[in-house]
Subunit: 459 residues, 2 copies
Amino acid sequence: MHKPLFALAALSLAVPVPLTAAPSQSTLVDHAERAAAEDRLAWDFVEGITTEVGSRMAGTEAEARGRAWAMRWLRVNGFANVVEEPYDMSTWVRGAETAMVTAPFQQPMHITALGGSASTGPGGIEAEVVFFPTYAALEAASPGSLTGKIAFISHDMRPTQDGSGYGFAGPARWTGASLAASKGAIATVIRSIGTENHRTPHTGGTTFAEGVRPTPAGAISNPDADNLERIFARSSGKSVTMKLVLTPRDLGMTKSGNVTGEIVGRDPSLPPVLLACHLDSWDLGTGAVDDGAGCAIIAAAAKQVAALGQPLRTIRVLFAGAEEVGLFGSSAYADAHKDEHFMVGLESDFGADRIWRIDSNFTESDPALYKQLTTAVARLGVAPSKQVAGGGADLNVLRAQKGALVDLQQDGTRYFDLHHTPDDTLDKIDPVQLRQNVAVWTATVGVLANHSDRVGLAK
Amino acid sequence: MHKPLFALAALSLAVPVPLTAAPSQSTLVDHAERAAAEDRLAWDFVEGITTEVGSRMAGTEAEARGRAWAMRWLRVNGFANVVEEPYDMSTWVRGAETAMVTAPFQQPMHITALGGSASTGPGGIEAEVVFFPTYAALEAASPGSLTGKIAFISHDMRPTQDGSGYGFAGPARWTGASLAASKGAIATVIRSIGTENHRTPHTGGTTFAEGVRPTPAGAISNPDADNLERIFARSSGKSVTMKLVLTPRDLGMTKSGNVTGEIVGRDPSLPPVLLACHLDSWDLGTGAVDDGAGCAIIAAAAKQVAALGQPLRTIRVLFAGAEEVGLFGSSAYADAHKDEHFMVGLESDFGADRIWRIDSNFTESDPALYKQLTTAVARLGVAPSKQVAGGGADLNVLRAQKGALVDLQQDGTRYFDLHHTPDDTLDKIDPVQLRQNVAVWTATVGVLANHSDRVGLAK
């Protein structure tokens, strides 16, 4: 429904305009406001990668196609020093996946395997299901009480603007299968960690504790979990049984990689500003919201800053690989660049809805800089806060060197409707809110990349 | 999330209260308003059948389980003369279904076969795709121009309160594959006839004209159709190719059936009031909105009317079979009952959202009765109209005898978000609107079943 954008010449920046001084704050804010109304770069990126590549499962050839696509986009759009930094990783891929309640009523369930799930084998398994309404109920189950059974954890999630509902419900996915397996379960089925009611189950990684043998583990959609709860309620004490077929497999070690590109600053000897996102996605959707949008936003913002003239500091974009399945890209980048000093790091990885708050980890220790940032973004509807920024998952390199961090908090109310589902597709991105992101990033990065002093951090 | 209802004894009606006269209009309207606030029968029905049976594909054992369940429910709830009327039908069932764009970009598409689709065979077919933005564009294609190719018809649908968008977009599904096949296409893929943007494609029947050999035919979800359109836009003139695997099959002749039950009237010699719905559903969802809700509404209303005392006329509910795949149940019922005279027929088959308008085919010819009906439902937010009721698909028996019809028009704005998709599940039903339906039906059927005269129809 949306046409690609070929006419980006007006913003082409093969040679940024040389500047001898930073743009004034008002020039920068005016430019950011124009980006809020007019930016087409971010849409071009996310529309392009979701159309020409689609899903980009970590460690697979699809992720490699994503890297090639992104490097070409960066070069076409005037970024310098576009490089790939490869690394090896252990790669898991999905197989067949079906689930059927076989008694007391027959009902097929929409299921998807969790990353790290073991295989049932092609013939599947059939066993009695034990219902746990919450993670705490599973914790309370006796050792050995699940021997030979399938655990069903129906711990549900509610939407929150700040995404905190994920912390509440997430453990059911992150460690529920391991906990159930430690009590004897031969498989685990969870209610999707998601906030909508469509029959599109939410995948995501699960981890088995040391000494616990991995079992098959899948998530059923919220309507299926509701139905399974009702089947228990109407079972009149009869056993509920399920036939489960999940055949994911490990491909062993494969190639993955990070991609970086730069807007080179007037003084390349100064520590650069690092903007991160991740290029890989889960395999079910097209990686639009998670995290094509994040890469689109940071790349567009870097270019929007450069459109005002060459910034003082270099701006580097890091399109990390293999975030979803265990931060392999972030770890590799932190290892490879541990001796390189960065001025500050920022990440976009929470969809494409509007930014409503700016946090930093120097709000008290460098109030002048924080004030400059909050002033620059206030007109775009972004509030200051006293929260301490922790940085995103792909900023390990900054955390390792105890560097400066800024978090531009997005509205996450809708995010977990789509997170890790087949429904993570381009149509879910609101172009108006996407541009607001670009504008806020432009203002923020514009201030930081033209800031000559180091950031004052607490000792 | 919703618990079953066991405590329906208060409304149990094994023996309706005998009455010697009709309830007054105000008594009836007061009772209908209580039903709007308190009815639990309709929810109990639709919650029960979607939990204990689920999808009920026509001609299969799942539909037979649905009939058995419904007959038990009718008996438990005090209906008399609960019978099954079997018939034979030709039955089509789904097989494997996958679609993959193979060039110029690789993208998997969420697809579902249309009812009546031929099979590609398990190995599938791969061919160039030809894009038709509308049905008219396909009509304009030259004879033979699609030889060896897959037609993609992207004719899209918009929501309308009265469902008229279905008439605009529907032909792409109903006859698009036949039209494309007549021009040489080896398969047809359509944009889902649906109004939402989830990756849950909409199935439904397609028909091949006489002399046109059936081809494989499927619908992709709206986000996939958007993506395929963008793939064409970014293809730079290169061919777009698709690999398609659809393996539905015909089971030959199998058993299906209609289910009826009655609230017997004080004067069983008078022609009864016939309330219809269909019990079968497409296989993808659980048949909640289409049409578990309809059967729930008519059964609850019949019982709510009886709760006011035995009505003058018998009220018969007809849970028709095999509506979705070709009105086999409706045809069988019309044949079997062509010599039985019905006072009037009404059908509920448009989801569970609120009723906003009442139509009849005697509005001009029997204005007193129509006025009595509109007065009875006005307080429930239902408007009169001059539209002529045509009756629903399962009222062939009434149309054949040129009988009286009343259409209680529901708000269809959301209906085609769910229609024929996996997302047709209980959670989509708003209990408040479901009860409004029961209330409007109670008021309407209460008037009709206590009306002693015949309906005045135009000659």
